[in-house]
Amino acid sequence: MSASLLLPVVGASLVGSLHCAGMCGPFAAFYSGNDPTRGVRRGLSHLAYHLGRLVTYSVLGALAGALGGVADLAGRAAGLGRVAAAAAGLLMIFWAVTLLLEHAGVGRRWEGPAGIKKLAVKVMAQVKQRPPVARALIVGLASTLLPCGWLYAFAVAAAGTGSAVNGAVVMLAFWAGTVPLLLGLGVGMQSLAARLRVHVPVLSAIALLAIGIAGVLGRLNAPAISLKAAAGMLTPGSVVPDEPPCHKNRAKTP
């Protein structure tokens, strides 16, 4: 995975994590609240929560990447080359533009499917009785159930990589960007000046836009040869090298 992709992802995730802290912050309060222990025990719950999130994000990224790989296969078969990255990029640009328009006052409300909400409520209700560390882990694992557009945007980016492994890595980068602010919750939202807070939506949208453009321009999936060898099992189909082999052969023939 080239650095040209991961750094922007981490960066964007950091910027957007101001919102993450606001939205998922109460969960941290939930799983660690009512817990009389302090110090190491508390730290364990935090660790469990973040590990749970890591697992679920990686799985999401792997699935998305695999789907993107299937799209790539289809695209190759149709002679279009790598479609996943382009499609993902376009989607993210579209999304970013929508966010910016919303901020400017143009747009409509959108609500997710009710089934997800019911499921989330059910999970949370079940979890109340459990010990804090288990609670933290389950809440972390259930994070993908929340209809968070920000998360799904990065899942789309993961799909754009066209491989399960790369997709998981993208999501790992995303996760890495979200950890700092969520951990330091006491610092979180409240202490940020109002002025800074106002800019968060715009900044996030711009970050999405940047990644989207990168995808469309083909920078999203620079294949790493060593990774390919190691991940031969999980990568759908074979990765086509940039030049068809026959050209190289032709060059070699006397």
Binding site: A29, V70, Q190, P236, G237
Partner: protein
């Protein structure tokens, strides 16, 4: 925080930022909800907010120092069924069952096969305290009995919901709607499964072609992955219909047909996925998709058939008309379906038509034949203001009525409902079938495992396919469906022939050779008087006709039937109750009456007197005719034996039954009838009061099965005591309270039809079971041998159910017998 920020909204044109009630970030203007107390910047925040409140975790907002916000408790989305514990509900819908138990009938969603019946009847395992749960699969209802002081109805409802069968209170309007919703859900699943099936087959076609002609590994890989992606919605959602049943079966440890099916589908999907990830090996997604789709189609067809089976509405149309003549304001009448008639509609009922609804006469007067309900064949006078009931016959003239109750709310509708409810009593053969079907499922699972292991050595790829084919093709549903379907089809057909049967067990008992005890009057005989002989002066006949024409006495009516009308002028007419009539014709005094009546008014020649005594000894009724003080003729009357009685009784004897007569009428009359019939009777007793009849039946039941045929009201005790009680008149309501069968047509032929129908039904049941067993043996063998692919199995399975269904409904159990 949010409330303070909302102040910014009121000022028009102000750029004040509203902060999200959850995360505090600004809410974009397009997402603002006017008038809402909480605003959110995105759907995610809204969800988390409701999740936290929904789980009762609102106190954790304290960490965010949100001061003074209202702790609004979002209602949990889980249904608690608390409304079922409402006192008004319990009073309206629940019946007391004795020993402190209450009983309620609930409509259940997702009931689709006999295995579901077993599951639900195990309700006591899931909700301890439930005393009984009886399912009527034709109407998708369960009748639950429980002690209300120890257990709440809402708990029972929740238990049913966790089993996978959400309950609803049974109201006829709602059930139709619920059924439509269920049908739509099933159709949606079918649609998805069908779309998936088509696409996966296309992909499979490509892969098969590739297997023969060679295909780039890229393409192959793509098609395999694409198959996996495409089949996932079918396996994850459409097949959910099967997983629910399977899961409940596992939880209650009851064998259920959905279990092998679910195992087959999931095994095929899992192994195929593993092979896709590995990059080599067979994939089975085409079979899996085919199985899901075809089984869903089969289930849909099954549901349709079951719900088209006999139900109360069906029975009702045998007795009440399906259309009525609605009078509009301008007086024109048009035919409308009975369902569209509402309370207060004016309906026109012409002479000779059946009354379509319960109501009141508003115009006209006529006579009504209410024999269906009261058993009284004597016509009732009706005038304006009189009450009418659906199912009765308007005899004389056109009337206009105002409808008050229609359909199942009418008296006859309610009556038929009780017939339908009683029909859930299961015949013994059905109970045996239920048990057998349970062991069947276990057998099929074991055999599948053995098949898998056995084939693994030879050809591991095909092993799984063969096991899946076996799981899918073996179907105990035909076994479980055979009896209820045959019984319910027969009951429906019998109803259309005017025979109401109150339970499948009665039908089965009719097939055993028994002692049939007949009541005489009305069953073996016509039930009315008929002129049997005339001795003496024939010329007097017209005069007698003229005199008797004025009376409504049964003898007078019999005279009328025999002699016809006569226009002779009659004067000084006097009728003496219990004696006779006298009048003056042409200046001469005519007397017609009983022997005692005639003796007091005329001189009786000895040969006429002797003849009268002989007639009485034969059981006939003598009537003397005298003119001017001298008895000149003797007319005798009897209740004639029905024309078809002898033939029908002979056929009953041929079926292996023994015959007897038990009557309240005079012994001489009974003897005369016996001689007339000229058949072997075990006994023919007359002069029996209801108590004596009961004693006789009791005595005989000790020796073998007894079928009693009699009057529903007078012979109620004997009818109830007999193995099968058949009421041939006496009014439907009273009869069905005591007897198992009620016939609306008089005579012996309906009784014969009933017996023939019973043995034919048993024949159909046996045929169904044989069909099912044969099918399972043959197809299971083929599957184990590897001759059937899973998708073929999926087609065969519903075919077997449908064959049983067809065989039950097409069988001629109650045809017109000539």
């Amino acid at each position: 925080m949010s409330q303070a920020s909302l102040a910014g909204l009121d000022a028009v044109g102000e750029e004040a930022d509203v902060a999200c009630s959850h995360c505090g970030l600004p809410v974009p203007r397009p997402l603002l909800e006017a008038g809402a107390s909480t605003q959110f910047c995105c759907d995610g925040c809204r969800t988390v907010y409701s999740v936290i409140f929904g789980a009762g975790l609102e106190r954790y907002y304290a960490e965010r120092r949100e001061a003074g916000s209202e702790q609004k408790r979002v209602r949990s989305s889980d249904k608690t069924y608390a409304e079922l514990d409402d006192r008004a509900f319990l009073a309206t819908y629940c019946r007391a069952r004795g020993s402190g138990l209450l009983e309620v009938e609930l409509y259940l969603e997702n009931l689709h096969c006999p295995a579901c019946v077993w599951l639900v009847e195990k309700l006591g395992k899931v909700v301890p305290g439930v005393v009984a749960a009886t399912v009527d699969i034709g109407r998708s209802t369960v009748t639950v009995a429980w002690p209300p002081d120890k257990l709440q109805l809402s708990e029972i409802a929740r238990g049913l919901a966790t089993l996978g069968y959400p309950p609803h209170p049974r109201q006829s309007a709602d059930t139709a709607e619920l059924r439509r919703i269920e049908d739509r859900a099933l159709l949606a699943r079918m649609a998805v499964a069908g779309a998936v099936f088509g696409n996966v087959m296309l992909l499979a076609l490509a892969l098969y072609a590739g297997a023969f002609q060679g295909m780039d590994s890229d393409y192959q890989s793509f098609f395999r992955w694409a198959s996996l992606v495409v089949v996932t919605p079918s396996v994850a959602w459409s097949a959910g219909a099967f997983y629910r049943g399977a899961w409940s079966a596992v939880r209650t440890r009851t064998p259920h047909m959905d279990l092998p099916i679910s195992i087959g589908i999931l095994a095929g999907f899992a192994w195929g996925t593993v092979n896709v990830l590995r990059g080599r090996g067979e994939i089975y997604f085409d079979s899996v998709a085919a199985v899901v789709f075809l089984l869903l189609v089969g289930r849909w067809l099954q549901r349709r058939q079951q719900h088209q089976a006999k139900n109360a509405a069906d029975l009702l149309y045998s007795f009440a008309p399906s259309s009525a003549r609605l009078l509009s304001d301008d007086g024109t009448a048009r035919e409308v379906p009975i369902e569209t008639v509402v309370e207060g509609s004016l309906l026109e009922v012409r002479a000779g038509e059946t009354v379509p609804a319960d109501g009141v006469v508003v115009e006209g007067s006529s006579t009504l034949d209410a024999s269906l309900l009261s058993g009284e064949s004597r016509p009732i006078e009706i005038v304006e203001g009189a009450r009418l009931h659906a199912g009765t016959l308007n005899v004389a003239a056109r009337i206009v009525m105002r409808a008050e109750k229609t359909g199942q709310a009418t008296r006859v509708g309610r009556l038929l409902r009780s017939v339908e409810e009683a029909s859930t009593r299961r015949a013994p053969i059905a109970l045996a079938a239920d048990r057998a079907a349970g062991r069947f499922v276990l057998g099929s699972l074991t055999l599948a495992l053995l098949t898998l292991l056995g084939w693994w050595h030879f050809d591991s790829e095909r092993a799984l396919e063969n096991a899946i084919a076996l799981l899918v093709v073996t179907c105990p549903c035909a076994l479980g469906l055979a009896t209820p379907l045959a019984v319910s089809a027969s009951i429906g057909k019998a109803a259309r022939r005017g025979i109401l049967i109150k339970g499948g067990d009665a039908l089965e008992r009719l097939a055993t050779p028994s002692l049939i005890v007949f009541d005489k009057t009305g069953t073996l005989t016509e039930g009315r008087l008929e002129l049997s002989s005339w001795q003496g002066d024939e010329a007097l006949k017209p005069w007698v006709a003229a005199v008797e024409a004025r009376s409504a006495h049964p003898i007078a009516l019999a005279f009328g039937r025999a002699l016809g009308a006569c226009d002779v002028e009659v004067c000084d007419y006097v009728q003496t109750p219990g004696g006779g009539v006298e009048a003056c014709i042409d200046g001469q005094r005519v007397v017609v009456g009983s022997v005692a009546f005639a003796k007091a008014r005329t001189e009786l020649p000895p040969q006429l007197e002797a003849a009268a005594r002989e007639a009485a000894a034969r059981g006939e009724t003598p009537v003397l005719v005298g003119v001017d003080g001298r008895a000149r003729a003797l007319a005798t009357f009897h209740d004639p034996v029905r024309a078809d009685a002898r033939a029908s009784l002979l056929r009953l004897q041929a079926l292996g039954h023994r015959l007897a007569i038990l009557s309240g009428d005079q012994p001489e009359v009974v003897q005369a009838v016996r001689e007339k019939l000229d058949l072997t009777f075990e006994f023919a007793l007359g002069g029996s009061a209801p108590e004596e009849k009961l004693a006789v039946v009791e005595r005989e039941t000790e020796r073998g099965p007894v079928v009693m045929v009699g009057d529903g009201v007078n012979d109620a005790a004997a009818l109830a005591r007999a193995s099968v009680g058949i009421a041939v008149h006496g009014g439907a309501e009273a009869s069905l309270a005591a007897a198992d069968v009620f016939t609306t047509r008089p005579g012996v032929s309906p009784v014969l039809e009933l017996f023939v129908g019973g043995s034919r039904t048993l024949g159909v049941i046996r045929r169904n079971m044989l069909l099912s067993l044969a099918y399972n043996l043959v197809c299971a063998t083929l599957a184990v041998a590897g001759a059937i692919a899973p998708w073929i199995a999926a087609i065969l399975m519903p075919i077997s159910s449908l064959t049983v269904v067809m065989s039950s409904y097409r069988a001629k159990t109650f045809p017109e017998i000539s």
